[in-house]
């Protein structure tokens, strides 16, 4: 068992641990999708915090690393479906960076599943609900994130 896993085990057994998850949401699609989920009163776990960005392509990998360093348990980057980007091509960059990021996180000794990318359009309220619900479950299963404070 890795150190992280041991710690995670311990923490998870502490009662009432709830993960904190940061969602970078593209203003045009996923943010609107989350709005729609709200409008439709679709319930989901309260663990996610949405940070609005103009486009998923705006998300600099450094933001993600910083969040993990500061102890966030999971990060989701979500934007328009490929081909539907409000800015034509932004989400293609996201897709490429996502793969690189996952590898980087793995290298840093993190479970890459803590970092996900999803396409959720402005009309996909239910999908937003389903994605964050699933993500919360996944992250819960992984346990708390060992802070990467000392890294870099």
């Amino acid at each position: 068992m890795s150190i992280e896993a041991v710690k995670a085990d311990k923490a998870a057994s502490q009662e009432n641990w709830e993960p904190k998850i940061l969602v970078f949401a593209c203003n045009w699609c996923t943010y609107a999708g989350a709005d729609l989920a709200g409008l439709s009163r679709l319930q989901y776990p309260p663990n996610v915090r949405i940070l609005r960005v103009p486009c998923s392509g705006r998300v600099n990998p450094q933001f993600v690393i910083r969040a993990f360093q500061k102890g966030i348990d999971g990060v989701l980057v979500a934007g328009c479906h490929p081909g539907d980007c409000h800015y034509a091509t932004g989400n293609y960059f996201t897709r490429r960076r996502y793969l690189v990021m996952q590898r980087l996180l793995e290298f840093m000794g993190m479970d890459p599943a803590r970092f996900q990318a999803r396409w959720i359009s402005g009309s996909e309220g239910p999908k937003f609900q389903q994605v964050v619900t699933q993500l919360t479950q996944d992250i819960k299963a992984l346990g708390p994130n060992r802070k990467l404070r000392d890294m870099e």
Partner: protein, 659 residues
């Protein structure tokens, strides 16, 4: 020292029901820089906004956070409120505690906790906000239409009628496009020339329209409202100001070559107009084929021209004009069916395309409207039509449906039955697609009134046997192999993008799809706009389209252009990218990332150790940048930052959430 005010909205009970607003306000009061925090029932109402304004005055707030509904709903409201309180509207952030919190989390404790987090993030961000100002750009009131087919002509006429000057740049010697090649038009069968020619003449005579034929786009710079377009006027070898279109030159020219307009079924001279109704009706010399240009001898046209218009010394001219808006209407080409080995690789003379068929039945075509097959000029009695050639065929052609061919094939078959009484018209089809007003009725008439025979199945092979073409198919409704001995076969070949479509799109700076059709900003709701502000689409260059669709889209594009040109200036969002020149290395990585071609390199001069040095740095064009932020991530030196969503702002939010 920054002074932040926080305002928590109840939204009646919408928020207050599951979020303890009072507690949120109290907690927020403790956050760094927060000097005032309160909650109120309806923040967006008049009295709600008064609460904000009063607090700003009373507590000398210099920035605020409103925790309420989605910024997609009330951001403009609260920005205005800031403005009327005398603050910069961009020194305001919203925390979405309704859609993203109270409405989705029934647990009040958890909801409150989350609302506090969201407010904390907003406060952390707003502290890093800087005042931003909208700027405005002037709009040059002149429009450019690229391509003079029916779509381009219609768009130009509508724009011109609204009172704006518009230039049509057409690469051929005449406007008219494909519609000029078509004989009759479905679903009414009125003659194409009869309805097109008047429009061409209208365009030529309109005081606001300039026809710029035999010309191409060389370069496009600038941005919405201020495009700088360089046009190449190809050397016509004829001085149009002198030429009267008398026709003496092309009558007497000794050089005959295959006519592009007649698709190889007829000929033209080396000095020519593409077709008799050409607009302008003034010839050009095709230098590749003209004897004078090849051998230095001939000059017949010059000698005979009564007005001395022929000028062999002309050269291409470049001209740069400023436009406020551009409509692209460059139309389509036809799929080259010579990849179909089973249909003879385009080698059988009597296997022709639908567009060639249009020329064969056209009264002003090479056969004067008599249907004669190319090989021996005999009248064909049995004509087979094959649909979806190159369309809906991933193995050899394009996956998409070309949309017009079902209808024009029904038209062709009808015309065959009309013109040759004892003929057979047999259509091999997979589906008959007729979604348009009176389209299905038209197709049904072909079948029941004219007796056109439809056979469901894709043809597998055509081969020549004597002077017949043997067409082998399956009638899939019977489940039997069938065979037709045809005199002529007409292929409904796919509509494809012009071969230079990609080049043009890159030149102008908008996107195109994998088939080189131009991409609209939204397939349903912004069908005539591109992602590039000020550039609009009309006609078949955006995807297969028939004439009614092309014309509607052209008028829609014209409406968009008029909407733009009706303003004197245009406000631009301040949420755009900015370069920190002192750390930009001039590497240029960001340039190719930007989907709007908003970044360029420029040269700056700076003093280093007392010496003046020149170097290159990136420059963002505020007219073009749409604020996506993609470039900021690409820059290795972090020289680019997106105003309103700066690295510092986003990191502050992240930190606020995690701490």
């Amino acid at each position: 020292m920054k002074r932040v005010g926080v305002f928590i909205c109840h939204c009646g009970t919408n928020i207050a029901h599951t979020v303890d607003c009072e507690k949120v306000a109290k907690t927020a009061a403790e956050f760094p820089h927060v000097v005032f925090s309160t909650d109120y029932k309806y923040m967006c109402s008049e009295p709600g906004q008064m609460v904000i304004k009063n607090a700003i005055k009373e507590h000398k707030l210099d920035r605020i956070v409103v925790a309420s509904c989605s910024p997609r709903m009330h951001e403009p409201t609260f920005r205005k409120c800031m403005e009327s309180a005398g603050l910069n509207p961009y020194l305001m952030e919203m925390a979405n505690i309704r859609e993203h919190c109270s409405w989705v989390h029934p647990d009040k404790e958890k909801g409150t906790e989350k609302a506090i987090d969201l407010v904390k993030m907003a406060v952390a961000k707003v502290v890093k906000n800087t005042p931003l100002t909208r700027s405005s750009i002037p709009i040059h009131k002149r429009a450019l239409v690229i391509g003079g087919g029916i779509a381009g002509i219609q768009a130009a006429l509508d724009i011109a009628d609204a009172g704006y000057v518009v230039d049509i740049v057409e690469k051929e010697p005449s406007i008219g496009g494909r519609m000029a090649q078509v004989d009759k038009t479905f679903p009414t069968l009125d003659c194409s020339a009869c309805i097109l020619t008047p429009k061409m003449v209208d365009a030529a005579q309109h005081p606001n329209i300039n026809l710029v034929t035999y010309s191409e786009i060389e370069k496009v710079e600038g941005y919405v409202g201020n495009f700088e377009v360089t046009i190449r006027h190809k050397a016509r070898s004829v001085d149009v100001s002198k030429c009267t279109g008398c026709g003496t030159c092309w009558e007497k020219c000794p050089t005959k070559v295959a006519s592009e307009f007649e698709l190889g079924l007829g000929t033209r001279k080396a000095i020519y107009t593409p077709f008799p109704q050409a607009v302008p009706n003034k010839p050009v010399i095709d230098r590749d084929n003209c004897r004078y240009f090849k051998t230095g001898k001939c000059m017949v046209c010059q000698k005979l021209c009564p007005t001395g218009a022929v000028d062999y010394t002309q050269e291409d001219q470049l001209e740069t004009i400023r436009y406020g808006a551009i409509v692209v209407a460059t139309g389509f080409d036809l799929f080259d069916h010579s990849v179909y080995g089973e249909y003879g690789y385009g080698k059988y003379p009597d296997v022709i395309t639908g567009l060639q068929f249009e020329r064969l039945i056209n009264a002003s075509g090479p056969t004067a409207g008599k249907i004669k097959r190319p090989s021996d000029h005999k009248e064909p009695k049995t004509i087979v039509f094959i649909k979806c050639v190159g369309s809906r065929d991933e193995a050899k052609g394009k996956p998409y449906c070309s949309k017009t061919c079902c209808m024009y094939t029904a038209k062709h078959a009808t015309l065959v039955k009309e013109k040759i009484k004892d003929s057979q018209a047999i259509v091999f089809y997979m589906d008959v697609r007729t979604p348009g007003k009176n389209y299905e009725e038209f197709y049904q008439r072909a079948v029941d009134e004219y007796g056109v025979q439809y056979v469901r199945g894709r043809v597998s092979k055509i081969y020549q046997k004597g002077d017949k073409l043997i067409v082998k198919g399956e009638d899939t409704l019977l489940g039997k192999q069938v065979e037709v001995e045809a005199d002529m076969v007409v292929l409904a070949t796919a509509m494809v993008a012009r071969s230079d479509a990609g080049d043009l799109a890159r030149k102008v700076g908008f996107s195109y799809d994998q088939h080189d059709f131009f991409t609209e900003a939204h397939p349903k709701l912004r069908p005539v706009e591109t992602h590039t502000a000020g550039v609009y689409l009309a006609g078949a260059c955006q995807g297969p389209k028939d004439i009614p669709d092309s014309v509607s889209q052209a008028s829609a594009a014209a409406a968009k252009v008029c909407g733009l040109l009706s303003k004197n200036e245009m406000a631009t969002e301040p949420i755009i990218s900015a370069v920190n020149e002192s750390i930009c290395s001039g590497c240029g990585l960001c340039i190719s990332i930007c989907p709007y071609k908003a970044i360029d390199l420029k040269t700056i001069t700076e003093r280093v150790h007392g010496k003046m040095l020149e170097r290159q740095v990136a420059a963002v064009n505020s007219g073009l940048c749409q604020g996506c932020g993609a470039c900021t991530v690409a820059c290795r030196s972090s020289a680019l930052n997106l105003r309103g969503f700066t690295n510092e702002q986003i990191l502050a939010e992240v930190d606020a959430l995690c701490l």
